[in-house]
Amino acid sequence: MTRPAGQEPHIELEGLRFQRDGRPIFEDVSLSIPRGKVTAIMGPSGTGKTTLLRLVTGQLLPERGSIRVDGQEVTGIGREALYRLRKRIGFLFQHGALLTDLDVYENVAFPLREHTQLPDCLIHHLVMTKLQSVGLRGAARLMPSQLSGGMARRVGLARAVVMDPELVLYDEPFAGLDPISMGVIVRLIREINEALGLTSVIVSHDIEEVSQVADWAWIIADGRIIAGGTPEELRGEESPWVRQFMHRLSDGPVPFHFPARDYPEDLREVPR
């Protein structure tokens, strides 16, 4: 498997093994994420893409293997160091995960108020510039319940980058959005990445959008990395698995059916 060439890695995973409730999620995952680029991690639902992000932020501990962010080992560092590390990472949740008792402005201001002693006028400027960049300056005084799904995600994005992190993790940023909001998010991810010179990691299964925005993509399945390359390279990939994923074939190495017993057998037996 090739590595993104000529790039200094920002995140490096090596020999990662993780299981949940006795079910192995990752068998042996090694990958590196280049600094300053947009990297996508793709794979079908249930392959543990989100789990991977949680491992990177130290919310979960791997069973084996190492996770290095900025050369610093994440597994087994103390909580103080972990919280310091998290301040340098922006995280966009699938649904924005705004604090529902604060309005849009306060949500974006929240990390600043928590972690810095900045005067109010400076906080105001920072919040307004971030809201301006996601196009929601006018929505500053709305409550999260008044926002649409796409808007909530944009506010989440503004909050994720308000501390000027070096690394932003996007958890399914395109899931469940209408085409216009999707386009907006694609543009924002690209723009923010270039304007702030940060490293972006996108976890997604939306091939189209990822192809538009990512410099590099890894594909995960069955607990391991099965391919890596630029989106164009992956499209041309010959392996049946990658073909199935990139070309949206319903059946292939990934079966359509969840493992089950014989179909007639299931029909015959009435459950108690």
Binding site: Y83, F93, R268
Partner: protein, 366 residues
């Protein structure tokens, strides 16, 4: 939709036609029940069937079994496809018992006790975590959140003032009435103030407040944290580098520990006011007389004995509420279950702890 399902009996032959599918099955079943099937050989012809599904096939199979059970014989004429479907339907096994065997009383008691034991252990684990975190915070008071604390104090304490005052006033009133009936018999109504004060300050005041707060606040903590957990807000806090313990649990815990003793004092006072009112109305003794009857030393002791319990109740209520909130699982019933469990456990814990206090006080001769 094709033609409705029909069945026609002529002598020894039965003709099935139309759509033998799920929507028509109920009507068809009633029709089949009414048929008085002839003895001996029955010819069933299903060539005219326009459609058959598993439900229809089951019905057909039952018809065949009925004839065979009566000692008859059946000759079926079906197209190949329908015959295979009938074979499939014939192999459906009926569940042997429709209901799970009833759990025996003893095993139920055992299971429930085991579950409660684990619940209790879980609570002790949470208590341990909170104490450990709290000890760490004591070294660095800068992580305190005064604004959150004040907000929680208002929600859990100030807003509870009216209801605590009214209810304990009424309880004081009722207790005084009961006492004066009993004391009248012995002509000892002069002791009413002492008895009432002892009851209100030492037992009822703290208990009323704790139960009210368990109902109001434990449920709201569980619902608040549970909703935040489901909305991923708690995860969001963690990834923003903020400990949910600092931001959510600690202010709630401290606010309640601070508020509950104050509410307990209030409850004691308004309960005594209710008693004094009864004393004045029934025994025509003024409030001053009531107050003069309070033997100072004794009341003070009861006052403190009652007050000591309040922070303990507060801690338990806040911890149970928070723990249930943080344990919420995704799903529509999650938050509802958590709030219910929080209130039930909090009230249960309050009453048990109160009993433990009573035993300790008695053993110490207080």
């Amino acid at each position: 939709m094709g033609a409705p399902a029909t069945v026609q009996l002529e002598g020894q032959s039965l003709t099935c036609a139309g759509e033998w599918r799920l929507p028509g099955v109920a009507a068809l079943e009633a029709r089949l029940e009414q048929l008085s099937l002839p003895r001996g050989r029955l010819e069933i012809s299903g060539e005219a069937l326009e459609g058959l599904d598993v439900a229809g096939a089951r019905l057909l199979h039952r018809l065949v079994s009925r004839v065979e059970a009566a000692g008859g014989e059946v000759n079926l004429h079906l197209c190949e496809e329908h015959r295979r479907l009938l074979e499939l339907a014939a192999r459906v096994r009926r569940p042997e018992r429709l209901h799970e065997p009833r759990e025996s009383f003893l095993s139920e008691v055992g299971r429930v006790s085991w579950e409660h034991w684990w619940e209790f252990r879980g609570f002790l684990g949470f208590l341990g975590e909170v104490v450990a975190e709290f000890a760490r915070r004591l070294l660095r008071p800068s992580t305190a959140r005064p604004r959150r604390f004040l907000n929680e104090l208002e929600q859990g304490g100030v807003r509870a003032v009216p209801i605590v005052a009214v209810l304990s006033f009424l309880v004081g009133l009722v207790i005084a009435y009961q006492l004066s009936t009993a004391l009248d018999t012995y002509g000892a109504t002069v002791f009413l103030p002492e008895l009432l004060t002892t009851t209100m300050l030492r037992e009822l005041g703290p208990l009323i407040v704790a139960i009210l707060v368990a109902g109001r606040t434990a449920s709201s903590y569980a619902a608040e944290l549970g909703t935040m957990k489901i909305n991923e807000e708690i995860d969001a806090l963690r990834t923003l580098g903020i400990s949910p313990f600092d931001m959510l649990i600690l202010p709630k815990l401290l606010a309640l520990i601070f508020a509950l003793p104050l509410l307990t004092v209030l409850a004691g006072l308004s309960g005594m006011l209710g008693g004094a009112l009864v004393n004045w109305a029934v025994h025509e003794q003024g409030v001053t007389a009531f107050l003069q009857r309070l033997p100072e030393g004794m009341s003070y002791r009861h006052f403190w004995l009652g007050l000591v319990k309040a922070p303990v109740f507060a801690a338990v209520i806040a911890l149970i509420g928070c723990r249930q909130g943080l344990r919420v699982k995704r799903g529509a019933g999650g938050v509802g279950q958590a709030t219910t469990r929080a209130v039930v456990q909090a009230i249960f814990a309050v009453i048990v702890i109160n009993a433990v206090f009573s035993i300790i006080y008695n053993l110490q001769g207080l």
